[in-house]
């Protein structure tokens, strides 16, 4: 009886051990499909973040965040097709420069600038994905994505002194354009089906916004009728992913 129990226990242990081994991640295996939730910091640069009141190229945007969903279908162990739907939001920068600028430009005692809406973009991108496994739990990944970008430029309302009639508004604006995203990252498998990825992506788009105003009567200070500067910079993201093996 003891021997039977011992044999049964040994078999059970072997099965358990095998099963546990089967649950261990192995980057060397070809993944079928990877689905991920991604989010992180977005740091745009260039004219989009400039805060020069007299430069019409200044975008008065600051760093923000991005969140999105991503999916990669693997053709083989290394190559796949990646799709990304993401939302980028950028903060405001240099609003005081705008307030001071309008105060000076209209020779008024005081001015107040209120933002309306936000600077954001919705990206729908697709492109090739390359994964280079390093050991069983880690891989270096890279991707090049292109697609459509729906960008939005925040509006602003300017109050001058105590004269309600002089208040004018730069309306919010939306533009569609093509964009690209180029990224590299390190993917770490926590289990056979899940893991995390730290990636850095360069993003670029150049939407052509048409700017309209409400109650803008006199030509003084910053008055732009269009804004066509690149929205480009770096995303630093953390992605939680789930793998479906073939």
């Amino acid at each position: 009886m003891k021997q039977q129990i011992a044999i049964m226990s040994l078999l059970f242990t072997i099965i358990c051990a095998n099963n546990a081994k089967a649950q261990q991640p192995n980057m060397q295996d070809k993944p079928g499909f990877i689905f991920g939730l991604t989010g992180g910091l977005s740091a745009p640069g260039g004219n989009y973040t400039k805060t020069d009141f007299n430069d019409p190229k200044s975008g008065f945007a600051g760093p923000g965040f991005n969140i999105g969903v991503t999916g990669t279908w693997f053709i083989n162990k290394n190559w796949g097709i990646n799709a990304l739907i993401s939302y980028h939001s950028y903060s405001f920068k240099g609003l005081q420069v705008l307030a001071d600028g309008f105060k000076d430009a209209f020779a008024i005692d005081s001015s107040t600038v209120n933002t309306q809406g936000s600077n954001y973009s919705m990206n729908f991108l697709v492109g090739p994905y390359y994964s280079l496994p390093i050991g069983k739990k880690f891989s270096f990944d890279s991707r090049l994505l292109v697609g459509l970008v729906n960008a939005h430029l925040a509006g602003m309302q300017m109050f001058f002194e105590d004269q309600a009639a002089s208040t004018f508004t730069q309306k919010e604006s939306t533009a569609n354009t093509f964009g690209l995203q180029l990224g590299i990252g390190g993917r770490y498998a926590i289990s056979k089906h899940s893991g995390i990825m730290l990636n850095i992506d360069y993003f670029y788009s150049k939407p052509d916004f048409s700017i309209n105003y409400e109650n803008r009567n006199n030509n003084a200070g910053r008055w732009i009728t269009s804004y066509n500067e690149p929205i480009a910079g770096l995303n630093t993201n953390l992605t939680l992913y789930y793998i479906l093996h073939p």
Partner: protein, 207 residues
């Protein structure tokens, strides 16, 4: 191999697996918290910036009107209105604020503004798109005043730094010259905005 040793082995594996699972859960939890924190901290908020008033704004002290007869360039008339006390406690010096014009004549007029001894006329010219000179002629005075310069607003509007004064019959009276500050409300009328300067000149139209 006895039963006791197998049980201990199983426990050991179970303990290691539990530890591993907890580690994984911790990583996922931390990653989720990190992502949520990023989104929360970067969430868009309506922002406001205020440029507050600065004390001690300089006041305009002097207005000089120079009128040149369109038919006789040697006929140049000048009038000066001075108020050196920006508080208004001391009345303005109007001893030189007298403009003597000939009847049935046209005068090309220029207006110059001083801040103490500094000529600020170029500043007004720079800010022409929201400044306007208006002329209020007293009844009985046979004088018409028309601004001849235009600003650079989308629809050009008069400024009044240069004007055309036209006289008819002999008469006496006053003309009140006001400089209107109309930030983003300038529309060609005198009503909107505030008044930067208000000067009254005596006008004598003679033979």
């Amino acid at each position: 191999m006895n039963l006791a040793s197998i049980t201990f082995y199983d426990l050991n594996i179970h303990f290691k697996k539990t530890k591993k699972t907890m580690k994984k859960k911790k990583i996922i939890l931390l990653a989720s918290i990190f992502t949520l924190l990023i989104c929360w901290s970067a969430c868009n908020k309506k922002e406001t910036a205020i440029a507050p008033p600065l004390p001690g704004n300089e006041a305009l002290t002097t207005m000089i009107i120079t009128a040149t007869n369109a038919g006789d360039s040697t006929d140049v008339r000048t009038a000066k209105w001075i108020e050196l006390d920006p508080t208004g406690a001391t009345p303005p010096d109007t001893s030189l604020a007298v403009l003597n014009l000939k009847k049935n004549a046209s005068y090309n007029v220029t207006i110059q503004l001083l801040d103490s001894l500094t000529d600020v006329t170029p500043e007004i010219k720079d800010r022409e798109n929201y400044h306007l000179f208006c002329f209020d002629v007293s009844s009985g005075l046979n004088l018409t005043c028309i601004q001849t310069d235009k600003d650079t607003n989308p629809t050009p509007l008069p400024i009044g730094l240069t004007d055309l004064f036209t006289t008819t019959a002999v008469s006496n009276g006053h003309v009140e010259v006001t400089l209107h500050h109309q930030p983003n409300v300038k529309n060609g009328d005198c009503a909107p905005g505030s008044i930067d300067m208000d000067c009254t000149f005596t006008v004598n139209i003679t033979n």
